[in-house]
């Protein structure tokens, strides 16, 4: 087994996350799919850190985690306030700009 398999796994996870963002309608699940994409990129960073023998990849993965935590807090607060006004967490119901 070589390191390539980790990278292929990360690519597949990223794709599943991207397809989930396109397919799912619930805003919270869409958000979870974004988290999955961030996680798969972290796996890539950690793998390359090991392959190249430097710790910078791990530091970057660490920063990605911090940014993801901040993003989740703000995003979920936005979903909550949208739900409070529209009584729905579906991305299809947020369509005021359409008309």
């Amino acid at each position: 087994m070589t390191l390539t398999w980790y990278l292929v796994l990360a690519a597949i996870l990223f794709t599943i996350g991207a397809v989930g963002v396109l397919v799912r309608r619930n805003a919270i699940v869409v958000f979870m799919c974004v988290e999955l994409m961030l996680n798969s990129v972290n796996l890539t960073l950690v793998t390359f850190a090991r392959a190249t023998g430097t710790l910078d990849g791990q530091i970057m993965a660490f920063f990605v985690m911090v940014v993801a935590a901040a993003e989740v807090v703000v995003g979920l607060a936005i979903i909550m306030s949208i739900y409070r006004t529209r009584r729905s967490a579906s991305v299809d119901d947020v369509n005021l700009l359409k008309y």
């Binding site: 087994m1 390539t4 988290e35 999955l36 392959a51 993801a68 607060a77």
Partner: protein, 268 residues
């Protein structure tokens, strides 16, 4: 420098890799949002083990504590606040979007996966002992974080403060002082406007179950519509069996349940 990894790592990868993929697929395909969150927890735990295996024990611990411990619990909290029954609609807003997304996904995975596989074939594994300087992973990361990446680390604190304040601003409900209805006003409004000032009948009280999903039964055996809980599918209540023998007629079941006893076998 070697290309090939150890046997234990190979076993760990081929056991946890499919579990990880199954979690990701389950997240996309399960209809219930809570199930999606739990599938994602599975994937994240597997990724945490991968980090530990790949000489990043600090990131593995952070992954499990911050991602599965904090972020996913936050997701579950919001799911409970928003309501479990607001699951996905099956209606496609754009026709053919699902098929197009699937085709896109397969194509994207093929292109990126094959590209990465070709580009990184024979990638040598340098390993991290040199980079860590013999101190282990956490001192190595700390040294980099507080020297080379100090500015980014400090900016991160500003980001976290901003996110916390932003979440509070978004989640806060502004109320004028004194605009909140008192208990007296609420009670008056209820009695003046609604035809049912009393409480709704409890679920399943006169039925054979005490589940919230079981509707209460009316004296004639029908279900009381007003006792159905919102957001829960009503559950079929098993009716009480009719007593068949004289001996059972004296029992409590007979007193509770049925209208007329079946005739004794000899009386027919």
């Amino acid at each position: 420098m070697t290309q090939h990894l150890g046997g234990g790592e190979t076993v760990a990868f081929w056991v946890l890799g499919p579990i990880c993929l199954a979690g990701a697929l389950g997240m996309v395909f399960s209809r219930n949002a809570v199930h999606s969150a739990l599938w994602l927890v599975q994937t994240m735990l597997c990724l945490g083990v991968f980090y530990v295996v790949q000489e990043a024990p600090f990131l593995g611990a952070v992954q499990i504590i911050v991602y599965t411990g904090a972020i996913m619990i936050l997701f579950l909290f919001v799911l409970m606040l928003v309501g479990r029954d607001s699951s996905d609609s099956v209606v496609e807003t754009l026709r053919g979007q699902r098929i197009a997304a699937t085709v896109f996904g397969v194509g994207f995975a093929g292109l990126v996966g094959a590209g990465i596989a070709r580009a990184t074939r024979g990638l040598p594994v340098v390993g991290l002992p040199d980079a860590q300087g013999g101190n282990g992973n956490i001192p190595g990361i700390a040294e980099l974080l507080f020297t080379k990446y100090l500015l980014a680390f400090e900016v991160t604190s500003a980001l976290l403060i901003t996110a916390a304040v932003g979440a509070m601003v978004l989640a806060h409900i502004e109320r004028e002082p004194g605009s909140r209805q008192t208990q007296k006003e609420l009670s008056r409004a209820r009695f003046l406007t609604s035809d049912r000032p009393q409480t709704l009948p409890g679920p399943g009280v006169y039925a054979r179950a005490n589940s919230v999903a079981a509707p209460a039964l009316l004296p004639d055996g029908g279900t009381a519509e007003s006792s159905l809980a919102t957001g829960i599918e009503p559950q079929e209540v098993e009716q009480m069996p009719r007593p068949t023998g004289r001996r059972e007629l004296g029992s409590r079941d007979a007193a509770l349940g049925t209208l007329d006893p079946a005739p004794l076998e000899g009386e027919r």
